[in-house]
C-alpha cells in the first residue's frame, strides 16, 4: 500500500474536516455537557452557576431545597430502553427469515427484492409514519375494515398507545436490520451446513451450531444500528404515541421547545449520549474479540 508521509497536501485534505467537525460537532457536544451542570434561569435562560440537581431530578437525590422526587423520568428512561430493545427483537424476528429467503432466490429476483428493501431508505420518514396514523386512527383503515367484516364490534384503540409506538419504530427500522443480516446470511458457508446435516445433526442443531454463530456478526451489527436511533427517537412517539408512549427524546424536545429548561434537557441528552456510547463501546470490544479468535 502506498502510504505517503505528512505533506502540504495532507494538511489541505484534513484541515476542512478538522475545523468543521471540531466547531460544529465536538464543541456543541461539549456545550451540552457544560449546560447539564448549570442552573436553569427564571425565564428560560441559564445562570452560570454549578447545579447538580438536573441529574438529581432524574436519578433521585435531594437538592437541599426541593425535596420532592418524581420517579417519572427514570420510568421514561426505562421505557425508552425497553421500546428500543423490543424494536431490535421484533425487526430481527421479521428480517432473519426474509434475509434467508432473498438469498436463495435467483439472481434476477434477488435484485428486485433488494431494490424493494432499499427503496424505503429513499422515501420520506415522516410520510411513512403518517401512513400509520391513517391506518391506526379510531376511524382509520384498520378499524373500518375490521368493523365492516364483523371481526370487532367496537373500534380498537391502537393509536396513541405503546403498541403504536413500537409498531411505528419497527416499520421505520426494518431496512436497517435487514441489510447487515442479509450480507451475513449471503456469506454463509453452505458446505458447512451440508456437512452438518450429512453428519447427522438435525435442522435445529445445525441452525444453533452452524448458522447462528456464522450470522452473529450481522445480528450484532443490525442490533446496534437499530437500537441507537430507537433510544433517542422522538418523531415516532410524537406522531403515534400518547402520554403512555412518551419517550426520553420527547422529554428532551419539551425541555427545549416548550418548558424551556435547557439545563435539564441537556442532562437528559447526556443520558441518551451515555447509553449510545456504552452500546458502541460494547459492540466494538465484542467485534475486536471476535476478530482476535478468527
Amino acid at each position: 500500500m502506498a502510504m505517503r508521509r505528512q505533506s502540504v497536501v495532507l494538511g489541505m485534505l484534513l484541515t476542512p474536516v478538522t475545523l468543521f467537525l471540531g466547531v460544529f460537532f465536538l464543541l456543541p457536544l461539549c456545550i451540552i455537557a457544560v449546560f447539564s451542570f448549570l442552573s436553569p434561569g427564571l425565564y428560560g435562560g441559564v445562570e452560570w452557576s454549578f447545579y447538580h440537581w438536573n441529574y438529581g431530578r432524574i436519578f433521585g437525590w435531594a437538592d437541599g431545597i426541593i425535596e420532592i422526587y418524581e420517579p417519572i423520568y427514570l420510568q421514561i428512561l426505562f421505557r425508552s430502553l425497553s421500546f428500543a430493545a423490543l424494536t431490535v427483537g421484533l425487526t430481527l424476528i421479521l428480517c432473519y427469515p426474509v434475509a434467508f429467503w432473498v438469498s436463495r432466490l435467483s439472481e434476477r429476483w434477488r435484485l428486485v427484492f433488494m431494490f424493494l428493501i432499499t427503496l424505503p431508505f429513499f422515501s420520506s420518514l415522516i410520510v411513512r409514519l403518517y401512513a400509520w396514523l391513517l391506518i391506526l386512527k379510531p376511524s382509520g383503515l384498520l378499524n373500518t375494515v375490521l368493523l365492516s367484516i364483523g371481526a370487532i364490534s367496537e373500534p380498537l384503540e391502537i393509536l396513541y398507545t405503546p403498541t403504536a409506538v413500537v409498531l411505528g419504530m419497527v416499520y421505520v427500522m426494518v431496512p436497517f436490520m435487514f441489510l447487515p443480516l442479509y450480507s451475513a446470511v449471503d456469506n454463509l458457508d453452505r458446505a458447512q451446513i451440508e456437512a452438518s446435516l450429512d453428519l447427522g445433526a438435525n435442522r435445529l442443531q445445525t441452525f444453533l451450531k452452524v448458522v447462528l454463530p456464522q450470522t452473529l456478526p450481522g445480528i450484532m451489527g443490525g442490533a446496534v444500528i437499530v437500537f441507537i436511533p430507537s433510544v433517542g427517537n422522538f418523531v415516532v412517539p410524537d406522531v403515534l404515541g400518547g402520554a403512555k408512549g412518551l419517550m426520553i427524546g420527547n422529554l428532551v424536545e419539551q425541555q427545549f421547545l416548550s418548558s424551556r429548561n435547557w439545563p435539564f434537557g441537556s442532562a437528559l441528552s447526556m443520558i441518551i449520549m451515555a447509553v449510545v456510547l456504552t452500546v458502541l463501546l460494547i459492540s466494538a470490544s465484542r467485534a475486536r474479540k471476535a476478530g482476535g479468535h478468527a
Partner: protein, 278 residues
C-alpha cells in the same frame, strides 16, 4: 433447505413482510384520490382535486376565507420545498468535498492520529439526531447566531460528511495504488496525481456519496426541526407541522408526490450503480 413445504411457508412469510412494508404507502396513494374532504377514510369518489389544489390550479372550497387559507398553505409548502432543495444542494456540495478529502487523506497518508480520525468519522453518524440537534441549537444561541437557512445547512453537513466519507472510503479500498505510484514516478506532483489520476477513478464513489447526501438532506426532520428559525422551514418539517395541527386531505397528495419522487431517485441510483460496474 429444499423442503417444499418449508420453502412455501418461508415464501408466504417473506411476501407478507414486503406487503407490510409497502401497504401503508399504497394506502396514502389510494386516499390521495378520494374526494371525501371530511373523513378521508370513507371512499366517496375519484378526484384529482387535491393535486390541482396543491398546484394552485383550482379549489374545491367555495368559502372565500377557506380558499385563502388553502392558497396560503400551498404557498408555504412550495416555499418549504424550495428551502429543502436549496439546503440539499449546498449541503451535498460541502459535505461531498469535505468527506472526499478526508477519505483520501486517511487512505493514502500515514500520519499520527489516523486511527483517531477513522473512529471519529463514525461518531456523527451514530450520534442520535436529537442530541446533535439540541447541541447545535444551544451552540448557535450561545454564540448569538440567528437561526436561518445557514444554520440548517451547517447542521446537515455535520453528519452527512460522515456518510460521504464512508461511501468514498469503500471505493478507495477497491483502487489500485500502482496507478498513482506510476504517476508519481513519471514526475507528476502530488496535487497533479490527485487531480488527474485519483479523482477520476473515485468519481463513481463520489457521485454515490453525493446522491446519498442529497436524499438524506431532503428527508432530515429532527436536526432541521431544532436549528431552523421561524422563517425558513423544510418540507419534512412542514409536513410534520401539518400532521401535528390535524390532518388535511392535501397531505395525501403531497405525500404521494414525495413517494413518487423517491422511487424515481432510487431507480436513478440503481441505474448509476449498474452502469458503474460495467
Amino acid at each position: 433447505m429444499r423442503n417444499p413445504i418449508g420453502w412455501a411457508a418461508l415464501t408466504a412469510f417473506s411476501l407478507a413482510f414486503f406487503a407490510f412494508i409497502y401497504a401503508p404507502l399504497f394506502v396514502i396513494i389510494g386516499y390521495s384520490f378520494n374526494s371525501n374532504p371530511i373523513n378521508m377514510m370513507i371512499w366517496e369518489s375519484f378526484t384529482f382535486d387535491w393535486y390541482t389544489g396543491l398546484l394552485g390550479l383550482s379549489d374545491r372550497s367555495t368559502d372565500v376565507s377557506n380558499r385563502a387559507a388553502y392558497v396560503e398553505s400551498t404557498d408555504l409548502m412550495l416555499a418549504a420545498l424550495r428551502t429543502s432543495l436549496t439546503v440539499a444542494m449546498f449541503t451535498t456540495t460541502i459535505s461531498t468535498v469535505i468527506g472526499t478529502a478526508t477519505a483520501i487523506a486517511l487512505a493514502r497518508y500515514r500520519f499520527r492520529g489516523r486511527g483517531f480520525y477513522n473512529g471519529f468519522m463514525m461518531l456523527p453518524m451514530m450520534m442520535p439526531d436529537i442530541v446533535l440537534g439540541i447541541g447545535l441549537l444551544i451552540f448557535f444561541v450561545t454564540i448569538g447566531m440567528n437561526l436561518s437557512i445557514l444554520t440548517i445547512i451547517i447542521g446537515h453537513c455535520t453528519f452527512l460528511t460522515s456518510y460521504v466519507f464512508i461511501i468514498v472510503q469503500a471505493r478507495m479500498a477497491g483502487l489500485d495504488p500502482a496507478l498513482e505510484e506510476a504517476s508519481a514516478d513519471l514526475g507528476a506532483s502530488e496535487l497533479t496525481t490527485l487531480r488527474k489520476v485519483l479523482l477520476p477513478q473515485l468519481a463513481p464513489g463520489i457521485i454515490g456519496g453525493a446522491l446519498l447526501a442529497f436524499v438524506i438532506s431532503m428527508d432530515d426532520l429532527v436536526i432541521t426541526y431544532f436549528v431552523s428559525g421561524t422563517g425558513d422551514t423544510t418540507l419534512p418539517v412542514f409536513i410534520f407541522g401539518m400532521i401535528r395541527r390535524g390532518v388535511k386531505p392535501e397531505i395525501n397528495a403531497i405525500a404521494t408526490l414525495i413517494i413518487l419522487a423517491s422511487v424515481v431517485i432510487a431507480a436513478l441510483g440503481l441505474w448509476l450503480r449498474s452502469r458503474k460496474t460495467d
